[in-house]
Symmetry: C2
Subunit: 435 residues, 2 copies
């Protein structure tokens, strides 16, 4: 008898079927026992009226999480969570677990401490509410790629081992690379720009590494960056338009593929407006200063508190979970940032806030070789380590720009997680290199 | 006027259109000049009868690779490569290149030396034949993911920073991780197995890092691994079946999306038989010994020469570009390998040869905690650094297995590249950390 998935049971009412999975719980209610088996797709409850049917579990000393096969008759029952249950089950033990697992998987995780969930991630990630988050992540990546494939973008894989902190900033990990020192790439930024010279439109989904020594709920040292870069734009508006379309497709895919997971997590998908509202940085700062006090003004960046305030403002004023803040001051942006032609102290770049947190950074880049030479000189950066990158501009580049979406930050905001580590299967931070 | 792509010109015969891209060549034939512009999708030729139309290029001192916009009338011409050309073009310079690029992009690359192509990759990757290879790579990833999404697999992103050379072997890169030493993951092997406990079926496409100090045409130190792992198998045959289906889908996607690129590269897609022929390792070795000499026998592995011979044998005997070799000796396989129950010196694992080169390694893994403890002890490996991984088995795992396809090796064999570095945008090897 071929094994079927728990999600397929509804199509087999009245039949004898075989399911397999992990023994999530076994409880007795009077003369009847209820055995819940979890497989990759969901759970199924088997109702055991004859106690002898559980003998194989008893004989093997099975605790929960034992791997079992159950053959039973599918019976419709409106009271069962999935609308069906198995009757008269024959149980076979595949792998007996004889020690209770460190995390209970049949109860709500509720206020389980984050450090415990992370230390026990190998088992804790089996919890239905943890699985739901990671299914959202897979769907988000699928939506991202689908949107870009449909728009003529080419997927690339860039090197993760590079020479030097070429993007600026000191937050790079050192690698012993044979007789030399290499560094882990902080982003695919320079390579995706080079690749605009090859394919015009490229994207990459991959790990990036930040050696930031910060121990906060928003910092991790490896995360998944969904990067895009495109050429032949007129300005940052073209980049923002593609980003808006990509977000709409991610949200569409999440809704189509993960309705059950969203409901389980109590997460509500945002609407992506055809045109996301936008504010210039200076307007945003003035609004925040008006609301939160003058200390918010004359900073080169927005404070996290200011961003949260803007998030509420965008909902109230525009009914939008998203808000573009455009024209951040050049002084806070990296060397490849294109200035706003009309107000050169401000950049042709943007952040996208999602529910009051920066989710995406993007913008137009410099595209002329001489502009790079001048920008590097003005920042006191050497151009020699960037020689290959600069060749891309020396030998012809169009106006271009792009953006990067942090996958884990998207999940954190979407689900309302208190800590970004909960959006990662096995997070890496100041103290965690395992599991 | 909205810019259109070179690939869309055929739908605009008789119209005035605007294209944009890189000036790939400009040559004069008598009174007429031919200007070829390359964009992300192909090339278009503009025919210039009135020399004054080229004044903008002359005035800016434009060399090839200058970025230009061309407005012209689309005229059907069976002699033009794409069946159409532009007449009476108005040319506008977007970015002038005033220095001839280091690689000619309008001629066949032919025997351009590999080191030159790699050193000049920023520009050389713009060559149509280089682009074709990377478009095949993108299509292969798309086919891989599509096949697995359709089969209920969940995409994961595993940590690339790990503690210790946990998979065995010494070929790991050391990373300075704050106050500690971390290592770059040699593969997602341990994590994808753990994740079978979560989702049953998982895959990952991502970079893996091998600190192998070998300078050969087949070695690179970062490559793209397309990894799969699935639970509730009966044996390695189930893994081989999924692999066969995935390969069929990759080949289908390559044929559907990249017919022009394949033709351009002179690459012929393999047929993927519904059932790929297979040989047991011991049979394979006997056949090779019969053909190439007795020194091939009693080795724990097949020689590259032996693999090439088997590749020819599979074509001759089975008309197949693919051949499974199953049952490699346990001594050459990693600790998590499941033995063949009937012949425990041999493993329940396989290699897939593609045109005489190992393309995929896979097999069934141990799934019982006590088997891991015994396997590690037998190899003199400490179980403590693997504690979290082993928890996956302690708390219940089904029979499972998986495989890993090397993306670059697939491209190398498919296109017949002489060096695997040519299948990578910006390869990393003993001497290369840039571009």
């Amino acid at each position: 008898m071929e094994r079927i998935r728990s999600s397929e049971l509804g199509a087999h009412v009245g039949e004898r079927v075989r399911v397999a999975g992990w023994l999530q719980s076994l409880r007795r209610l009077g003369a009847v026992s209820f055995l819940v088996v979890r497989d990759g797709w969901g759970t199924v409850q088997a109702v055991v009226a004859d106690d002898a049917r559980l003998a194989p579990l008893r004989e093997a000393g099975c605790e929960v999480e034992s791997v079992v096969e159950v053959e039973g008759t599918v019976v419709a029952n409106a009271q069962a969570r999935s609308g069906v249950e198995l009757h008269a089950p024959d149980v076979r033990v595949v792998s007996a677990v004889t020690e209770a697992p460190p995390v209970r998987l049949d109860k709500k995780l509720g206020n389980a401490p984050v450090p415990t969930l992370l230390a026990q991630a190998v088992v804790a990630n089996r919890h239905p509410s943890r699985r739901a988050i990671f299914r959202l992540g897979a769907a988000a990546m699928r939506g991202f790629r689908g949107a870009l494939d449909a728009r003529g973008f080419v997927e690339i894989q860039s090197p993760k081992l590079v020479e030097g902190a070429t993007e600026g900033g000191a937050n790079v990990f050192e690698v012993k690379y044979f007789e030399r020192i290499a560094h882990l790439a902080q982003s695919p930024q320079l390579y995706k720009q080079i690749m605009v010279g090859v394919f015009e439109r490229v994207y990459e989904v991959g790990p990036v590494f930040r050696a930031e020594p910060h121990d906060t709920a928003r910092h991790i040292n490896q995360y998944t960056s969904m990067d895009v870069e495109l050429g032949f734009i007129d300005g940052p508006g073209d980049v923002m338009r593609v980003l808006t379309e990509v977000l709409a497709e991610i949200v569409r895919e999440l809704g189509a593929a993960c309705a059950a997971e969203l409901a389980q997590l109590g997460a509500v998908l945002p609407a992506v407006p055809a045109r996301i509202p936008e504010l210039h940085f200076s307007e945003a700062q003035a609004l925040i200063a008006g609301a939160l006090g003058e200390r918010e003004r004359d900073q080169p960046d927005l404070s996290p508190e200011g961003e949260r305030w803007l998030g509420r403002w965008a909902v109230e004023q525009h009914g939008s979970d998203f808000l573009f803040v455009v024209g951040y001051p050049m002084v806070k942006r990296p060397f490849y940032t294109h200035p706003d032609a009309a107000r050169p102290a401000y950049s042709a770049s943007f952040d996208l806030l999602f529910r009051g947190t920066e989710l995406v950074t993007g913008g137009q880049r410099l595209h002329r070789y001489e502009d790079y030479i001048a920008a590097l000189a003005a920042r006191g950066m050497r151009s020699e380590p960037l020689a290959a990158y600069l060749d891309g501009f020396r030998y012809g580049m169009p106006r271009h720009g792009g953006f990067a979406i942090g996958l884990e930050r998207l999940l954190m905001q979407l689900v309302g997680l208190p800590n970004i580590r909960l959006a990662v299967l096995f997070p890496r931070d100041l103290t965690r290199l395992a599991p």
